[in-house]
């Protein structure tokens, strides 16, 4: 029974694929390649070693852009969140920058870094920076006053307070924020690679279209992007099950 329930989503996908294939066979108007064509495309990518190369290239950029943003934005956000006056002073600036799509930075990124990895990393950095900073700020705001008072009561030094109270109190929210932000980073890298570099999954898609209308490769690229995005999300989600973080997600 349980197995059946687990298989249900896969069965559903299989049915959709079948319908797709049938539809493509009946109307071979080149509007969309069929699943078999896409599978063939994925096979081509594997055969030429492009799959691994492009996936690694995209992940490389996302990792660096995200980590750089995290290293700068999280401590900054925690600090600003702690000193509310600083938060109030910076708030208008943040509110103006935040709604700007990271893609709007593409021309600047190319101007500053040229066409290459750095430009793409910069775009991901920009896309991750504000969500991470805002997450950190709100995480600090949401620390219950009791924890802060207990920390003060036990006479912790500033460093101890940060390490033993502030940090553990914000980690669960930071994990949620990071998960969402990593999703954003994965969206941004595809767009960035369409314009700012000559490799990666975004480049694959735009190149497959430009260099010969290989729509099977376009869809193959999309499927790879979706699958890796899912895996990244699952990876982040698994952090939420760590015992000393789990308290932050209980609904009470």
């Amino acid at each position: 029974m349980k197995l059946l329930v687990r298989l249900r989503p896969f069965a559903f996908i299989a049915v959709l694929l079948a319908i797709w294939q049938v539809a493509v066979n009946r109307h071979p108007a080149q509007l969309l390649p069929g699943p078999l064509g896409v599978a063939h495309g994925i096979g081509d990518l594997l055969k030429h070693g492009l799959m691994l190369k492009y996936v690694v290239a995209s992940l490389f950029r996302v990792t660096w852009g995200f980590l750089l943003a995290a290293v700068i934005a999280i401590p900054l956000g925690l600090t600003i969140g702690w000193y509310r006056r600083a938060g109030m002073a910076l708030s208008p600036l943040v509110q103006v920058f935040r709604p700007i799509s990271p893609l709007a930075w593409i021309p600047i990124a190319i101007l500053w870094f040229g066409v290459g990895d750095l430009a793409a990393i910069f775009l991901i950095f920009v896309g991750c920076f504000f969500p991470l900073m805002l997450t950190a700020m709100s995480a600090v705001h949401n620390i219950p006053a009791v924890y802060v008072n207990v920390g003060r009561n036990f006479g912790l030094s500033a460093a101890d307070f940060i390490y033993r109270v502030l940090y553990p109190a914000v980690v669960p929210q930071l994990i949620i924020g990071s998960r969402i932000t990593l999703g954003i980073a994965w969206l941004v890298v595809v767009a960035a690679e369409m314009i700012a570099v000559n490799s990666g999954l975004g480049f694959l898609i735009i190149d497959a279209r430009n260099a010969g209308n290989r729509y099977d490769l376009v869809i193959a690229g999309m499927i790879i992007i979706g699958t890796i995005g899912l895996l990244l999300d699952l990876g982040m989600r698994s952090l939420e099950r760590v015992k000393s973080f789990r308290w932050g997600y209980s609904e009470d």
Partner: protein, 261 residues
């Protein structure tokens, strides 16, 4: 005669003294007085309960004693030294959410023991795990403990740093009535085995009469000390004895609740 009387009566030092303490908060640009002219001496090892109508400033008074707030008038002194901030020698136990959810029972009890050696810390933790009867839960996280266990844990964490004074802010207020009764017994047992000065805020008249050496009754806001009742019944107190009920009636009368409801 008087010398003899002096020798018979246990001479206790004043541990904590509040002298003409007043507290006012700023609210919407106006100063709102919460406490006025509080004068109180607490002896070393004494068990004091603060009672009064809600909003009368009981918790504020506790926070002043604990150094979490500074009085706008007067002074709070402990061992003849003015209280200037929170101090690990005096620990406040909160009503709810006082334990750290990211630490296990062991981690919470050991929270204030970072300066001890590993062996000493181990010993201290074991001792207080036993004392609050949390054996077998050493590695459990608070989210898997009941409300009563969490409060016992909080008390254990407080006691572990060997404080002179324990401030308890309605520590059993969020518990069901049976658990509350059990917890009072536990607290008395702990207080009797390791004498510390305890200041206990409650809005529960029974709780006060059952626990306290003296009950301090605050008036409605701005809170002033309206009365101080000495409960001269030995522990364990029989909560249906005549003298217990007498004290209880007396206290209810003082609060102005006798024969109502």
């Amino acid at each position: 005669m008087s010398a003899e009387a002096g020798m018979l009566a246990p001479v206790r030092d004043v541990k904590l003294r509040m002298e003409r303490v007043g507290m006012a908060f700023e609210r919407d640009g106006k100063s709102v007085s919460v406490l006025e002219d509080i004068n109180l001496d607490v002896s070393d090892g004494e068990f004091i309960c603060l009672v009064g109508p809600s909003g009368c400033g009981k918790s504020t008074m506790l926070n002043l004693m604990g150094g979490f707030l500074a009085p706008t008038q007067g002074s709070v002194t402990i061992d003849n030294q003015v209280v200037r901030g929170p101090d690990p020698r005096r620990i406040l136990v909160f009503q709810e959410r006082g334990v750290f959810p990211w630490l296990t029972v062991e981690g919470n009890i050991g929270f204030g023991l970072a300066k001890l050696s590993r062996a000493e810390r181990r010993e201290r933790i074991d001792h207080y795990v036993q004392m609050v009867r949390l054996q077998g839960f050493e590695h459990t996280f608070p989210s898997d403990l009941s409300g009563g266990m969490q409060q016992r844990l909080q008390v254990a964490r407080a006691l572990a740093v060997d404080p002179d004074i324990l401030y308890l802010d309605e520590p059993f207020g969020a518990l069901d009535s049976i658990t509350r009764l059990l917890m009072r017994g536990e607290l008395l047992r702990i207080w009797q085995s390791e004498r510390r000065t305890i200041i206990f805020v409650t809005h529960d008249v029974d709780e006060a009469v059952q626990l306290a050496d003296r009950v301090v009754v605050l008036s409605a806001r701005p809170g002033k000390i309206q009365d101080v009742l000495t409960i001269g019944i030995l522990h364990p107190r029989n909560i249906s004895s005549a003298s217990y009920l007498e004290h209880r009636d007396d206290l209810l009368k003082k609060i102005g609740l006798a024969y109502t409801a």
